[in-house]
């Protein structure tokens, strides 16, 4: 394809990339505020180290693994295709059709891989060896993130099991179901924190949590509207949906709290924002405003109930990566099967109308076909992520060990792992 630079699209994608990168430090605040004062630095460092490792992995071989031409039966892209990012013609960019250069696309995709890995850290709070986590980020992005991204966004194997193309506009399966299932795997392997379910694990700084949620929301406009790869009407639809879905998700989450617990909480509002953002992520361009309102509200209500599952089933998903990201990701991905409206309000044409392309949802005259495709897409992502993450985690557990000593956990992982405490009297 002849490459013609589109300065408008390119400018938007450069901005969107910076917005998405901000989401990872934002997540560090969101998660950091939720842990106790003695482990806030470790919690935040798990996000920051993800930026460090994944950005490096990405330019060396990660982008190729995700978006290179099929190897290994289409499970991966070819890792040797874009090594070091040199001598890459602009026409090889996935977004050549929208006139966005290769470098911008590679950077945009890198920020997605970074935040996905960082999301997992919420399930391992207070107790994972920092060195093991650092190594895990590299192994996980190489063996779990890239095959799923390649399958869903790069035309690879893991996206090929559905009758019609799975709609995952910005990462319901690739990012949120993926991170949620991986978080569950690590929480199971790590075991319960000392005192889980008995001692209070109070969030030490709720203003941090709200600051993090606000910055996540801000960055998420780049995440969702940027996933159009162009500054056009579909990006506008995704942008508006990214405003309304989290807004109504706050109301849904707080409604549950008001009825069940008697008071609407700030932690609930912050969590509602993220649940709504997660659920609208795969659906941002394919549903209309009514669809976004419905998905957001359902996500707020269901996720606020789902965070209690860990007590019922006895796994210590410390900061609810499963309850918010896995459950929210499944809600958004599956509900597309009901709410997809590809006829109006969008110029999104990725495979629409083609053989095997996506079709409208059940409520918009498309029958059950897309619902089946979305469900299969969600199940494949859960199964692959859960199984491969369990294998990676088991290997790390028997070799270098996953968990810090009990003494370290009790006295605080910040001091033991980083030689620092966040506050004068961190407890």
């Amino acid at each position: 394809m002849e490459f013609t630079l589109d300065s408008g699209n390119t400018a938007w994608m450069i901005v969107a990339t910076a917005l998405v990168l901000l989401m990872t430090p934002a997540l560090a605040f969101f998660y950091g505020g939720m842990v106790r004062a003695k482990s806030v630095l470790n919690m935040m460092m798990m996000s920051f180290i993800s930026i460090a490792t994944i950005a490096v992995v990405w330019v060396i071989y990660g982008y190729g693994l995700a978006f290179g031409p099929d190897v290994a039966g289409g499970l991966f892209g070819n890792p040797s295709d874009f090594v070091g990012m040199n001598s890459i013609p602009e026409t090889s960019s996935l977004a050549a059709s929208v006139g966005v250069p290769f470098y911008v696309m590679a950077a945009f995709q890198a920020t997605f891989a970074i935040i996905t890995v960082a999301l997992i850290s919420g399930s391992v709070a207070d107790r994972m060896k920092f060195g093991t986590w650092t190594l895990f980020t590299v192994l996980w992005v190489s063996l779990v993130y890239t095959p799923i991204a390649h399958g869903v966004w790069g035309g690879g194997l893991l996206g090929s099991f559905s009758p019609t193309m799975v709609i995952d506009f910005a990462g319901g399966t690739v990012v949120h179901i993926n991170a949620g299932a991986a978080g569950l795997a690590l929480a199971i392997l790590l075991g319960l924190r000392k005192g889980f379910g008995k001692e209070p694990f109070k969030p030490h700084n709720l203003p941090f949590v709200m600051l993090g949620a606000a910055l996540l929301w801000f960055g998420w406009f780049g995440f969702n509207a940027g996933s159009e790869f162009a500054a056009d009407a579909t990006a506008g639809r995704a942008f508006l949906n990214t405003l309304v879905a989290p807004a109504i998700a706050i109301l849904g989450w707080l409604l549950v709290e008001k009825i069940r617990d008697g008071k609407p909480t700030s932690l609930g509002a912050a969590s509602g924002i993220v649940a709504g953002l997660v659920a609208i992520t795969p659906a941002a361009a394919s549903v209309d405003t009514w669809g976004a309102l419905s998905i957001g509200f359902i996500a707020g209500v269901v996720c606020s109930l789902a965070v209690a599952l860990k007590y019922k089933f006895g796994y210590d998903d410390s900061l609810d990566v499963v309850g918010v990201h896995l459950v929210g990701g499944v809600i958004g991905t599956v509900l597309i099967g009901f709410f997809a409206n590809l006829d109006e309000g969008t110029t999104w044409a990725f495979g629409v109308g083609e053989e095997g392309g996506p079709v409208n949802g059940l409520f918009y005259g498309g029958g059950a076909e897309q619902l089946i495709s979305q469900t299969i897409g969600a199940v494949v992502a859960i199964a692959y992520s859960l199984i491969v993450t369990l294998i990676i985690g088991l290997v790390l557990k028997v070799t270098i060990g996953l968990r810090v000593s009990e003494d370290t956990e009790v006295s605080g992982i910040d001091l033991a792992s980083h030689g620092e405490t966040a506050y004068e009297e961190a407890k």
Binding site: K202, A308, G323
Partner: protein, 112 residues
């Protein structure tokens, strides 16, 4: 000399300070404290998980006074800190053998 120690509701600190100044007290030490009495703790709910918080935040005031002033100071604190609800706190008075002012080395009543 006496040491008057008061454990009060944190939101009554300003009123108590004003009352102490009105009685002519020259200085007071204020610190954050936590504890429980008949009020017991309270429950907090985070993402649906209910936690009992046993120790309630309180403020501790310490005032050194002349023997003659102890009753008046105690009454000033009590009336300024009182809300009438459980959890208002306690005030107690103990004798003090000696007091020294660090800057001048003065002892006893002169150091107050």
């Amino acid at each position: 000399m006496k040491l008057v120690t008061a454990i009060i509701q944190p939101h009554r600190v300003d009123e108590v300070r004003a009352a102490l100044e009105a009685t002519g007290v020259k200085g007071v030490t204020v610190s954050e404290a936590a504890g429980y009495g008949r009020q017991k703790g309270h429950t907090e709910v985070y993402r649906g998980a209910e936690y009992t918080v046993d120790l309630v935040p309180k403020t501790r005031l310490e005032v050194l006074v002349d023997d003659a002033d102890a009753t008046a100071v105690t009454e000033a604190i009590v009336s300024a800190a009182q809300t009438g609800k459980i959890g208002d706190g306690k005030v107690w008075v103990v004798p003090v053998d000696d007091v020294a002012r660090v800057r001048t080395g003065e002892h006893g009543a002169d150091a107050l």
